[in-house]
């Protein structure tokens, strides 16, 4: 997911700068001989509050090097795959990847199994998070946060309520619709609109959904395929309806209380970003300490208070009610049962399927 990235162009420039600034942490950190307890984490930008890391350091005496250096699943995977394949260190002890890439990392044997002994808070996993098709039994991964892919809209511009995926194709919004460049999110949602199930999709489902997107693109219905940059256009009224990540709209609410995120009546896509321990890590115990810390309900609530996505920790919502009561009632962070019932995962694809579906999708979006 491109959650908070500002598109790949900024990334090439700013990402490189951030990498350089991160310096020692970037790719050259050596564990100091004195046995300093340092855990090195890679996560997406703006995905944590500013208290969790200092609290953890104070309580455990473990130093955290927290890098916000994941901006794009494919790009981050490309960066870590070669060293992990050669058995070299990537100087990270915890990385956070979206479900389908997490699955690829596990399949290729690049992840270390989680140690149940170092993870007493595992008992707090919500039912939804206890299993995943890309990681049966959650042996290698647990969610950092969950998010939903649905529709974001600006009622001032649409002039009406948006309830259905088919609203994306309403000629009244010609040239004022955006979709995202993440294949699973865009095609998954369109598939739901076609009454097809992304959790069981076939090549035919992909082709039908891609074809619908392609026709809409060619007719000028779709203004752009975006990363997170749709948020600006949505906020300033250029865009009427967008395929949108729930946490993005939650984040915009502070300045744009009018904006609405809705799970269409045909259903919405659920995704997870997952913590994994790369096999090159020589500090599994420290990594487990961090993961366990994040699975305490109060700590998870703390993280959600800033990130605006869905916690995978049982008991986080009551804790959130204490520190951010309004947010705890937001359906984007605490979705009602009716929304939860309509959430679907995009099924895990084999590498061959991934390659062929990506080609179909890229052709549909004009790439």
């Amino acid at each position: 997911m491109n959650r908070w990235s500002r598109r790949r162009f900024l990334r090439t420039g700013l990402g490189a700068t951030a990498g350089a600034l991160a310096g020692s942490g970037a790719l050259g950190c050596r564990s100091s001989a004195g046995g300093a307890r340092v855990v090195r984490i890679s996560n997406w930008p703006l995905y944590i509050d500013d208290r969790t890391v200092p609290d953890f350091q104070r309580a455990t005496g473990i130093t955290v090097q927290y890098h916000e250096d994941i901006n794009d699943n494919n790009e981050f995977f490309a960066k870590i795959a070669a060293p992990l394949e050669r058995g070299q260190s990537i100087d990270r002890d915890v990385i956070v990847l979206t479900d389908w890439v997490a699955g690829r990392v596990i399949r290729l044997g690049y992840a270390t199994p989680l140690d149940p002994g170092g993870f007493p808070n595992r008992a707090n996993l919500i039912t939804l998070a206890q299993d995943a098709d890309f990681d049966p039994g959650r042996r290698y991964s647990v969610p950092w946060l969950f998010g939903m892919v649905g529709l974001g809209y600006n009622p001032r511009v649409t002039g009406r309520e948006i309830t259905s995926v088919s609203d994306l194709f309403d000629p009244a919004f010609k040239g004022r619709v955006t979709m995202v460049t993440e294949m699973r999110d865009t095609l998954g949602l369109v598939m739901l609109g076609e009454g097809r199930d992304p959790a069981r999709c076939t090549a035919d489902d992909i082709r039908v959904a891609a074809d619908r997107v392609k026709r809409a693109r060619e007719s000028g219905q779709i203004r752009a395929f975006t990363g997170n940059d749709y948020t600006e256009d949505l906020a300033n009224g250029n865009i009427a309806v967008a395929i949108a990540w729930s946490g993005d709209i939650q984040g915009l609410h502070a300045d744009n209380p009018d904006l609405v995120w809705v799970a269409p009546r045909e259903g919405a896509i659920l995704f997870s970003d997952n913590m994994l321990i790369p096999k090159s890590s020589d500090r599994v115990a420290l990594a487990m300490a961090w993961i366990d810390w994040c699975y305490a309900p109060a700590h998870s609530a703390q993280i959600v208070s800033r990130a605006g996505y869905i916690s995978a920790v049982q008991g986080a919502i009551p804790e959130l009610e204490r520190i951010a009561p309004a947010l705890a009632r937001s359906p984007l962070v605490n979705p009602p049962a009716s929304v939860l019932a309509g959430l679907r995962n995009f099924r895990t694809l084999s590498d061959a399927e991934d390659a062929s579906f990506s080609r179909i999708f890229l052709d549909a979006i004009g790439g």
């Binding site: 790949r8 162009f9 900024l10 420039g13 794009d72 494919n74 790009e75 490309a78 040239g175 460049t181 693109r217 060619e218 000028g220 779709i222 203004r223 752009a224 395929f225 300033n236 009224g237 250029n238 390659a355 990506s358 080609r359 890229l362 052709d363 979006i365 004009g366 790439g367």
Partner: protein
């Protein structure tokens, strides 16, 4: 004797080594990447599936080159012949945009051309843009962005070739009762052709392969070959196709450059 033979070899060595390491080797790797199964698979798909995108890329680049030429020639002419003591300052202004990265400047255009922005409102007021129309995510914005970003590459070579012209030739023409317009057409213009061709190449080549302008200022129906290659490498991970498209772009541009070089040589002989 031996030293004189050795010296030129030593002088070119660093440059040749650099090019071998950072141009030839990557090119060979790219060539190997472009071989799919069967080896021509990527090329076949590049040729059959991407004709429109190639045509659009060269069309946008040609329009931008033409627009840049129309804007640059008079400016370069004034710089070379009429600027007087302002010349250094004006030249400095031409180069000034390079002080900030073109990425940031292109992002700035995104803001300037925004639907709710002043430019769109003004153009709507004079009916150049329909009331519900827009500039961003249109071909206009992409060609405009390309023109803007590559304009200095057109101005500078034209200026250099105009500035070199021996003024006495113009005076001679006028002494022989040529009107200023005729002197320009028969003396100045032909002598500036090398600059025009150099400027056109320096604009057209990078514009044809550019992807930032199309990506930031254009919509999904304005994508250029550069953005397609980028997406196929990073998102589609279809390396043979992406590499074949890169070679296709290179080949088409090389043909164009050779043709232009030939034109230039004939022009100079004439």
């Amino acid at each position: 004797m031996r030293r004189t033979a050795l010296a030129p070899a030593l002088l070119v060595l660093p440059g040749v080594a650099w090019l071998a390491a950072f141009f030839v080797l990557p090119l060979l790797t790219l060539a190997r990447t472009s071989f799919g199964a069967p080896w021509w698979d990527g090329y076949a798909r590049a040729v059959t599936g991407y004709g429109t995108v190639f045509a659009r890329s060269f069309g946008f680049a040609a329009l931008a080159t033409l627009a840049a030429l129309v804007l640059a020639y008079p400016l370069a002419y004034v710089l070379a012949f009429r600027a007087g003591r302002w010349r250094a300052l004006l030249l400095g202004l031409v180069i000034l945009p390079f002080f900030t990265t073109f990425l940031v400047r292109t992002f700035a255009w995104k803001t300037i051309l925004n639907d709710g922005g002043l430019v769109v409102h003004l153009l709507q007021a004079v009916r150049l843009v329909p009331a519900d129309g827009r500039l961003l995510d249109t071909a206009w914005a992409v060609v405009g962005g390309l023109t803007y970003n590559f304009l200095p590459f057109m101005i500078l070579p034209i200026y250099a070739s105009l500035e070199k012209i021996d003024r006495r030739l113009v005076e001679a023409a006028q002494d022989l009762f040529s009107s200023p317009a005729r002197a320009f057409r028969l003396v100045v213009l032909p002598l500036s052709v090398p600059g025009v061709l150099a400027g056109s190449l320096l604009t057209f080549i990078p514009a044809a392969g550019d992807f930032v302008n199309a990506e930031l200022l254009g919509g999904p129906n304005q994508r250029m070959i550069g953005s397609v290659i980028q997406a196929q490498f990073l998102q589609g991970r279809d390396y043979p196709l992406a590499a074949a498209l890169s070679f296709g772009l290179m080949a088409l541009i090389a043909v164009g450059v050779l043709a232009a070089a030939r034109l230039l040589r004939e022009e100079q002989l004439a």
